[in-house]
């Protein structure tokens, strides 16, 4: 990857402007930003090739946070170290911040207007469907064996009936995964292959938070 003078202010600003340009169009979360990054950073500006992009996507999925933002920061960092990472982050966040703030203020102001209330109830129903769809896809991708199925079910039950704090469940999940794999090794079971195909992002489904 091109690693031009990381102290070059003009270059850092260019990074900022690039992400500023593409981020307002990254609707629907998930890999929307990735698709845009590929078009802009890889194809147009030739900042990275497709193999580096694949590595970056994989790494971005391994870190908490939205995959698109992680990828942007990672690219920014690789191009121009910390200033580059911050510039990329700013480019991604500033438009989103402004748009969310605008929409939020509008909603908070006009909440009482019946049409607005009705419109948002309807939109919320659509969002519920979006989340349900995402849940369906995630479950389908995550259910690789009985252990995984058990974890999914127990997570939902623990949240619904026991009101366990989700943070504990996430940490427990990571620990359980490590323990399960260690146990399998100990018992001499053959190491499970990655379990499913590597989640290469798919253009048409990019809006679903395919997560990890």
């Amino acid at each position: 990857m091109k690693e031009t003078g990381h102290r070059n202010v003009a270059f850092v600003l260019q990074i900022f402007r690039t992400f500023l340009k593409i981020s307002p169009f990254a609707f629907g979360g998930g890999y929307a930003l990735i698709a845009l990054i590929e078009r802009e950073a890889a194809d147009r500006r030739k900042w990275l090739d497709s193999r580096e992009l694949a590595d970056i996507i994989a790494l971005s999925q391994s870190v908490p946070g939205a995959v698109g933002m992680n990828a942007a920061m990672l690219i920014g960092y690789r191009l121009a170290r910390l200033p580059g990472a911050i510039a990329a982050a700013a480019g991604v966040l500033v438009p989103a911040f402004a748009i969310v703030l605008t929409l939020g203020i509008v909603l908070l102001q006009f909440r009482q207007v019946p049409e607005v209330r009705a419109a948002f109830s309807s939109i919320t129903a659509a969002v519920a469907a979006l989340i349900a769809y995402a849940a369906f896809r995630l479950v389908r991708a995550a259910v690789v064996d009985k252990t995984a199925a058990f974890l999914i079910v127990s997570t939902v039950l623990a949240l619904y009936f026991l009101d366990v704090h989700p943070v504990f469940l996430v940490l427990a999940g990571g620990a359980a995964g490590m323990a399960a794999k260690a146990l399998r090794k100990r018992l001499g079971k053959p190491a499970k292959a990655a379990g499913r195909r590597e989640p290469v992002y798919k253009y048409d489904d990019y809006f679903i938070g395919d997560g990890i």
Binding site: F27, P64, M69, V100, P166, L169
Partner: protein, 178 residues
């Protein structure tokens, strides 16, 4: 207050593997239950706004929630908290230049994380259905919303872009429900 917002979303950010809707149960637990900053109805609005706008869902909801709690300063504090974990970890990893995911330990952790994250999103879906009284009663509003829900589901299945679906839903709602 600002510090609380920052720290709360910092914590949420650190465990938001897979970004996206997995943070909804976390937001509910922290914002609604623990701090009591918002009602369920307000949280629904936050989720709607965060879904309609570009940018990561976690950061978007942080901006909205932060603003409704403490104005623009709150929005900035919350957003900074949500985005900071990513920046910190990326820079750390970038500096070490390590392909983290190749390590067996990380892979095995994710073997457990993926199902849990899926479970979180399932629970988020359940919350959304319950909180919005979809399929709950035999009344016109409930039936209409349930119809929107089902039609949207079909639309997503057929790969219609979510923004269009949401805008159409909004228009239908404004025209049809009042």
């Amino acid at each position: 207050m600002l510090l609380e917002l920052f720290l709360t979303f910092l914590m949420i950010g650190f465990v938001s593997f897979g970004g996206g809707y997995a943070v909804i149960p976390l937001i509910r637990e922290e914002i609604v239950e623990r701090h009591g900053w918002m009602t369920v109805r307000e949280m629904n609005d936050a989720i709607a706004v965060a879904s309609m706008t570009p940018g990561p869902f976690a950061v978007n909801s942080a901006v909205f929630i932060g603003y409704s709690e403490a104005g623009i300063a709150g929005a900035i504090a919350a957003a900074a908290g949500a985005a900071a974990p990513s920046l910190i970890l990326i820079v750390l990893l970038g500096a070490i230049y390590v392909q983290v995911r190749r390590y067996e330990l990380v892979q095995s952790a994710f073997y457990g994380l993926r199902p849990v994250i899926a479970g979180l999103v399932v629970y988020a879906a359940i919350l959304m259905v319950l909180n919005n009284r979809l399929f709950a009663e035999f009344s016109y509003p409930s039936a209409a919303l349930s119809a929107v829900f089902l039609l949207s589901l079909a639309a997503f299945y057929f790969r219609l872009h979510p923004l269009y679906v949401m805008l159409i839903a909004g228009a239908v709602g404004a025209i049809g429900f009042v």
